[in-house]
């Protein structure tokens, strides 16, 4: 099986697209955040690879051609951000103030807890970019010497968690302003949280998607400082 497939380029590409499509279908049927297409796709692929004793390398041989589009896709994030620039101009203080406070909270809480658990540098930098969009977070983890695959999983789990908890937390902590809600959700739970913010309202959704990029860029800067602490 391995010998035949390892010569195939399209095995990795096809299985990725097909399983993702199945994930999309399950998400549409259930409508639950936990039914995340990315997560479902990964689980299905891992199951198939293990079941048929196919090496990761055999899969990656073709799948790498999907990964290379990550950089242009991240570059393209500038387009939705540009469309929301007007919003940014209206409340610059609230937006930057809130997001900077959020990014610092991320850095300090992850640093303190990592210290408590006695994590080493590799494990610590793996977790530092956990609340930002996967595209930027992956790059940070890789550059800092973290375990990129774990970073990706933690980022997705964070997003699902934020998506599920957002409404409850906003209610309990009396975060009522739609702008504040959107910023809180986007800064803590990136794109997966933004899906929930869009359900809450248009302002929440726009603010949340704006936070993804602003928070991502601010995190790049702060991680390069905080990474030196452990």
């Amino acid at each position: 099986m391995n010998e035949i497939l390892s010569q195939s380029i399209f095995f990795g590409i096809a299985i990725t697209l097909v399983t993702y499509e199945i994930g999309l279908w399950i998400k549409q049927k259930t409508g639950k955040a936990i039914a995340n297409p990315l997560l479902i796709s990964v689980i299905l692929i891992v199951a198939v690879l293990l079941l048929f004793h196919i090496d990761y390398e055999t899969y990656a041989n073709g799948a790498q051609y999907i990964s290379i589009f990550l950089t242009p896709a991240t570059v393209s994030l500038a387009v939705p951000l540009y469309r929301q620039l007007e919003l940014l101009k209206m409340y610059p203080k609230a937006i930057f103030g809130g997001i900077i406070a959020g990014v610092l909270t991320a850095m300090v809480s992850i640093f303190a807890l990592s210290l408590m658990f006695g994590l080493n540098h590799e494990q610590y930098v793996t977790l530092l970019p956990k609340s930002i969009t996967t595209a930027i977070g992956m790059g940070i983890s890789e550059k800092m010497g973290g375990i990129v695959t774990i970073t990706v999983v933690v980022i997705i789990v964070t997003g699902i968690l934020g998506n599920i908890l957002a409404e409850t937390i906003c209610r309990l902590c009396k975060i009522e302003d739609p702008i504040a809600k959107g910023l809180a959700i986007g800064t803590s739970a990136h794109a997966l949280g933004t899906a929930k913010a869009m359900e809450l309202g248009e302002i929440e959704g726009a603010m949340s998607s704006l936070s993804i990029v602003v928070c991502g860029i601010l995190t790049v800067i702060s991680v390069s400082i905080f990474a030196n602490f452990i």
């Binding site: 990550l70 500038a78 609230a94 977790l127 964070t158 910023l183």
Partner: protein, 131 residues
């Protein structure tokens, strides 16, 4: 042919960003440089929005799929994951909740402060409608 033109702008910026990543000794990934270049290009109108919009929207829309191959790599990191499973769970839950609360409360305080000042100054308050 519209896609070819648009993609060549986006991929050209990606290439430029890669060069910057190699040349600048900072721990910043190429994609972040590229994102900033594209944003500056759009703001300065050097890159008109409609010249990249269609392809960019497509790439952003399909972005989740691009994370699949890297995440499947978790197969090779199972041992590292097991080793730090408890810290991962605690850190993920605690920091996500804290970030959400702090960001929300801080921005809400700033917005309300700004609104109060606006009302005090006698400015017509149209923002309240959104609430």
């Amino acid at each position: 042919m519209k896609y070819v033109k648009q993609l060549s702008i986006i991929l050209g910026i990606s290439f430029l960003a890669e060069l910057l990543e190699i040349l600048i000794p900072l721990p910043i990934a190429a994609s972040v440089y590229g994102l900033v270049i594209m944003l500056v290009g759009l703001i300065t109108k050097l890159i008109p929005l409609e010249k990249v919009e269609t392809a960019a929207d497509f790439l952003v829309d399909a972005m989740s799929i691009m994370f699949v191959p890297a995440t499947v790599g978790i197969m090779a990191s199972v041992d590292a994951l097991k080793e730090m499973l408890l810290p991962i769970c605690v850190i993920t839950v605690v920091s996500t909740v804290l970030i959400m609360i702090v960001t929300g409360r801080v921005s809400q305080r700033i917005i309300r402060g700004q609104r109060n000042r606006d009302t005090a100054a006698g400015a017509a308050d149209t923002d309240k409608e959104g609430r």
